[in-house]
């Protein structure tokens, strides 16, 4: 441990390496926040057919939610249920309208089966492409400055010992704290400049939140780590509503079996409550 005590850091290292790295990183982070705000285009408002398609399922879900104790009388329930089933089969709620029945197939045989739109793929929909472009732009804005700073630190300050931590650490932290310095006997408390950069890189999120307020900084942890995780970057896969509607139709049929109107024996319940009928 003699090396640990015999090492002295020039104060100008603190002034000209340690502080500049931290300061530049904070400033770049703030700048990135505003650039991201500029880049974020507002999501396009949905059109009415899209909303209609999205919310069509709530109709049957609402109907089914109360099926076992339904507030509406049998004819009303059955009408709604059957209309919904028919609409789901015909694809009335699809945003492009119900599909036209196919007239003549290749073999010349008539087919009554209407052609439903193919399940949407991620790349076919132009609005999805816009989304992915947005994601890509954000990734770029996050990644490029980080790479530039890292190159800058690596070029000018490689091999610098920047700071001594005020607490001891085990040897396991050596690769994390002393990146860029290959001195096997040095105490783990000494932190190299490149490691200081990485510590800042991972740890400044809280500082940004303090500086920029608690709003969405546009830089979540996923992006901070700089790993373009494909699972997170992928926008929500577009739903195949046609398929969902078909499933919901079966649910509706199923719940017709459970249906019971609360008015069915309400007179007995009221009479019993008022003591006119013996309670069960």
């Amino acid at each position: 441990m003699s090396s640990a005590t015999s090492l002295y850091l020039d104060p100008s290292i603190r002034d000209w390496v340690l502080f500049p790295i931290s300061l530049v990183m904070i400033l770049v982070g703030v700048l990135r926040h505003y650039v991201l705000l500029l880049l974020q285009n507002k999501p396009k408002p949905q059109t009415r057919p899209q909303i209609r398609e999205q919310r069509a399922l709530t109709r049957s879900q609402l109907l089914r939610a109360t099926a076992a104790q339904s507030p509406i009388a049998p004819p009303f329930y059955l009408t709604i249920s059957q209309n919904l089933k028919q609409a789901f089969t015909d694809g009335v709620y699809l945003k492009d309208g119900p599909p036209a029945p196919k007239k003549v197939t290749k073999g010349g045989a008539e087919s009554d089966e209407p052609e439903f739109p193919q399940p949407p793929s991620l790349f076919s929909d132009p609005s999805q492409m816009d989304n992915m472009m947005g994601q890509f732009k954000t990734q770029t804005v996050v990644m490029i400055p980080q790479m530039v700073i890292m190159g800058w630190v690596n070029f000018f300050f490689s091999g610098f010992v920047a700071i001594k931590l005020p607490f001891p650490l085990t040897l396991g932290f050596k690769p994390m704290m002393q990146r860029g310095i290959s001195t096997p006997d040095m105490d783990t408390r000494w932190v190299s400049s490149l490691s200081w950069y990485f510590l800042n890189f991972f740890g400044l999120n809280g500082v940004y939140r303090l500086l920029l307020g608690n709003e969405d900084t546009g830089v979540d942890m996923q992006q901070m780590t700089g790993m373009p995780n494909m699972a997170a970057a992928t926008p929500a896969v577009p739903q195949d509503y046609n398929k969902l509607f078909k499933q919901e139709k079966e649910n509706l049929e199923f719940d017709e079996g459970f249906y019971k109107w609360i008015g069915e024996d309400v007179e007995d319940r009221v009479l019993r409550k008022y003591g006119k009928l013996p309670s069960v």
Binding site: P45, Q46, T47, R48, I51, R52, R55, A56, T58, R59, L62, L63, T66, P71, I72, A73, P74, P75, F76, T79, I80, I262, G263, V266, E267, D268, R269, V270, L271, K273, Y274, G275, K276, L277
Partner: protein
Amino acid sequence: MSPSTSLEQLATFKAQNPRASQEFLDKASPLLKDLKNTKVNDDVWPVIEQLAMAALDVGRLDIAKTAWKALADRIGQESPRVILLQGLIMEASEPLDLALRYYEAEAQKHSHNPAFWKRQVAVLRQMGKVEEATNELKSLLDTFYSDLEGWLELADLYSSCCHYSLAQQALSHALLLAPQNSFTFLQFAETAFTAGDMPLALKNFLIVIDMNDSDVPAPQDQSPTGISVRAWWGVKLCARRLLYPPAGGVNDSASKTAIPKNLKMIDQLATERVLTAYSGERGIHNRDVVSRWMSKE
């Protein structure tokens, strides 16, 4: 009074939703003067919006316009709520077709926000174009199914044209959306009664009673109040019509609802309950009339 407590007090108006526009106006209009000189906190803006609406309700266009100006300066003219407020002012001050065109244009722009579309329907109804209003409202509800207000309005529109079975259908959607609201059941029962579907009306009146009594331990010892009185009257009316059908009239139910077996008992119970309702201090004056009506079978 400190500004924060007064703001809180004014916010209760929104929560309790009484239509006390003049009172609100008197209490809230001093806020409008303070807006410029001091730095106000952000809680004040919803109150200013409310103030503008209250001002429109009592016809104080000047206050409404000042409030709108303040909101537009602070929040920006792009905010849907500010746009909507401008539309409301337009409804009050300009010819209705101008407001209608304004709402139509805004509804196209903000297709995900049903507020403009709803105002469009409301303006159409004000202009007396009931058919157009109904059609617009139908397509609105086709898109935004879960709009409870919309279904109730549609039922009202249908009732105003005597389409009672369509009104019942609209109300049944409202019931699905808010099955906990006994007032909707009452409205459904009354619509069914008007449509001549006695058994269905009877059942729904009984549902109202069942719902209202559900948390009362011994309902027979208490006098019915509020909406229950109306429901008991409904039960009595339906039961009497079913027991003694008017000459030439047929009691067929469009909804094929079965007539309850214990109809006599229900009739007796309803008579009892209605008379109990008129036995208290407040109802005693009308008791004679009620008992005379009851004995006249």
